[in-house]
């Protein structure tokens, strides 16, 4: 904060700190983070740079502002009508915390149950291993095309690209994912990957890319949805292999759950002979009863509906009903590294509702692409840097004003602001050389912990009056980092005397 004129050229005061007693980090423990050569967890630019570009896109900002304000109002209405929301939220938080505390046991139970019901369980250490497993499973069926249910995990690991490299076409069937795929674009939201596109842009993409589409297609949402139905119908009916994610997996019964709206999920989960579900290991929940909590929290937080149109649940294979060949791929890809951080592990509680994105003032203005990861918004800003190691996404923990709106709406009460602050510290403490910022903050710490030095520094700040040359505000053109403030806001001229000085003078001290 430039308001303090304690000198940007502060001398790096040597300052000794007590060694941390709780240095339990993934790096220290040797638990690997998500690999660099694959997947979509890292961006090409830092957040401030990417956001600067996004801010100039007036269409994007209008689309996002409209969509997020619509969903915020819907969510508030359906959450407001639930008298026991606070109790459900607390139960959701507690179930997730209890699950993480015994994650190994629940995964073993899940594996046993899925296997007992005719499914096959695979374990994937990282994105590359998961992609290889899925590719091999698809190749074993002889199919060269798979239909996909929207899944964050498969986006994260870059499964579509891996399949494509093996000559297998992956067809996204969720409407928004289809829009993104046809538009050769990237998803920008957890729930609505095409939130950055408005109806007329979507019409244009469909008109350009869907073979044989009605040339009279309008931008009416219902007409656009119909165009997607027609486009995908025949592909669903001929599909032999489907790939899905999972919202929840119940350890005690082996039941998998996919929550959706359109029916594309049901098509994929029901019609093909082979179903491959890729699931992050943190999606397991211990008991059947736990679902009664999450099936209330998720739809209201997510789409602002009392219940989403379709939820599918299945345990292994059911003779005569649905896929007869079921594979479950349990994915780590950095999750165990997140688990190793006692503060940060709460990010694994996320049920991917995206309520935090919809209320975030930073997300609303920057859009999802600026985060560089498939997980954007507040939850992405705490999840992505932990999955990759904080140095690979070092700007994300700072991509928040810490306003706390995300924590308020989170259905499982993830304290995102506290994790952001924690990750900022992890980043700072990972630096091996002293940055100018660190030098300044260390000097300021020394100053602020000594009343004598603090009073001297305050006097020095008062010298800013000379810059103002009698004006009530400082000049707009100050050197960096003060310029980052003064480019768009005035800075008041520091007063002649601080309050504490004046008070001491008046009260005779």
């Amino acid at each position: 904060m430039p308001a303090f004129g304690t000198g940007s050229g502060a001398v790096a005061l040597r300052f000794r700190y007590r060694k941390r007693e709780s240095a339990m980090t993934a790096v220290f423990l040797g638990i690997p983070t998500a690999p660099r050569d694959v997947g979509h967890l890292r961006g090409d630019q830092s957040f401030p740079d990417a956001a600067r570009g996004a801010l100039r896109d007036g269409q994007l900002r209008a689309n996002l502002g409209h969509a997020t304000s619509t969903i915020r109002a819907k969510r508030a209405r359906v959450v407001g009508e639930v008298p026991d929301w606070a109790e459900l939220r607390e139960a959701g938080r507690a179930i997730k915390a209890a699950t993480m505390a015994r994650l190994d046991e629940h995964l073993i139970a899940l594996e046993e149950q899925v296997t007992a019901r005719g499914g096959t369980v695979h374990w994937a250490r990282d994105a590359n291993e998961a992609n290889a497993i899925v590719t091999r499973l698809v190749q074993a069926t002889g199919a060269d095309e798979v239909v996909k249910v929207k899944s964050m995990a498969t986006q994260e690991i870059g499964l579509n690209e891996a399949l494509e490299a093996a000559g297998i076409t992956a067809l996204e069937t969720d409407l928004a994912e289809l829009i993104v795929q046809l538009g050769d674009d990237k998803p920008s939201h957890i729930l609505v990957p095409a939130i950055h596109k408005n109806r007329s842009e979507i019409r244009e993409i469909f008109a350009r890319t869907i073979p044989g589409v009605d040339p009279e297609l309008t931008d009416e949402p219902r007409k656009l949805a119909m165009a997607a139905r027609t486009h995908l119908r025949e592909r669903f009916l001929r599909a032999r292999v489907a790939v899905s994610g999972a919202n929840f997996a119940i350890a005690e019964t082996g039941t998998l759950t996919v929550v959706e709206s359109e029916g594309n999920g049901r098509m994929c989960l029901t019609l093909p002979e082979t179903l491959i579900t890729v699931m992050g290991i943190e999606k397991v929940v211990p008991t059947w009863r736990d679902l009664e909590v999450f099936l209330q929290l998720l739809p209201r937080s997510s789409t602002g509906e009392r219940m989403n149109p379709y939820t599918s649940l299945w345990a292994g294979v059911t003779p005569g009903d649905g896929p007869q060949d079921f594979h479950l791929v349990l994915l780590d890809n950095g999750r165990t590294a997140v688990l190793a951080d006692e503060v940060g592990r709460e990010a694994l509680h996320c049920i991917r509702c995206s309520a935090c994105l919809n209320v975030c003032p930073v997300y609303e203005r920057a859009g999802g692409h600026a985060y560089g990861s498939v997980y954007p918004g507040p939850i992405g800003a705490v999840l992505s840097p932990q999955l990759t190691g904080v140095e690979d996404n070092a700007s994300l923990p700072y991509a928040s004003s810490l306003c706390g709106a995300c924590y308020d709406v989170c259905p499982v009460a993830i304290d995102i602001p506290s994790i952001l602050v924690h990750l900022r510290a992890e980043h700072v403490e990972a630096q091996t050389r002293t940055t100018p910022e660190a030098a300044a903050f260390r000097a300021l710490s020394k100053v602020m912990s000594s009343p004598r030095l603090w009073h001297l520094a305050q006097r020095a700040a008062g010298l800013g009056r000379f810059l103002a040359r009698g004006k009530p505000t400082l000049p707009a053109a100050l050197p960096p980092p003060a310029s980052k403030w003064t480019r768009t806001r005035d800075l008041p001229t520091p007063p002649r005397e601080t309050f504490t000085q004046a008070w001491a003078r008046e009260h005779g001290r």
Partner: protein
């Protein structure tokens, strides 16, 4: 080391040697409902209609007739054989001339205009019907492929909230929870009904 052993090992390392027992989970949310059966039927009707389902109430003796007239209103004049029903659907619920699902390849069900099934449970507060793959509900593809879905719900199947609903279900069955017709919010986060699943949902409430 296998991936399984390695991941489980990482989890154990991450959680550390002395793990505290997880705190007990306080389930202080509602798990029962003191509303009367009639009130629950009204709530269910309201919620279903809110999501653009059509609700028809009838007496137990009028089911087949109500189903037939609802199909007539939706499909217009149609061949009786265009309607397929779950194999366990009671005879007195079936519209005349309907085909029974005989386990033919699932994709062939796409050729029918409408399906009639029962349900396992209905949750009033969320307007949710649950089909459990039993003979009266049919296999999952049956309630998915035809464009019009008719579900017959009896009064004793209606519960207040989600916890009561889940408590009545068999977790190992292939379950489908249906709340209104297929819909999407993917365009500007506005809900529009009708994408890949049935675009019309007719609910016959008995009693």
């Amino acid at each position: 080391m296998t991936a399984r052993e390695e991941i489980l090992g990482r989890i154990r390392t991450a959680l550390g040697p002395d793990r505290a027992a997880p705190a007990p989970i306080a389930r202080n949310y509602r798990t029962a409902d003191d509303r009367s059966a009639a009130q629950l039927l009204d709530v269910l009707t309201d919620r279903l209609e809110d999501y653009k389902a059509t609700v028809l109430r009838c007496a137990p003796s009028e089911v087949a007739q109500t189903v037939a007239s609802a199909l007539q209103a939706t499909l217009g004049e149609h061949p009786e054989a265009d309607v397929v029903v779950a194999p366990g659907l009671p005879a007195d619920w079936r519209p005349d001339g309907a085909t029974e699902d005989d386990g033919r390849p699932a994709v062939e069900l796409a050729g029918y205009a409408a399906t009639v099934t029962g349900v396992s449970v209905a949750v009033a507060e969320t307007g949710t019907l649950v089909l459990d793959g039993s003979p009266v509900c049919g296999r999952r593809a049956l309630s998915l492929l035809p464009d019009c879905l008719v579900c017959v719900v009896t009064g004793d199947q209606v519960v207040g909230g989600v916890p009561e609903g889940l408590a009545r279900l068999e977790p190992l069955a292939p379950l489908t929870m249906i709340s209104g017709p297929s819909a999407t919010s993917d365009i500007e986060l506005q809900r529009v009904e009708g994408v890949h699943g049935p675009r019309t949902l007719l609910v016959v409430l008995v009693g």
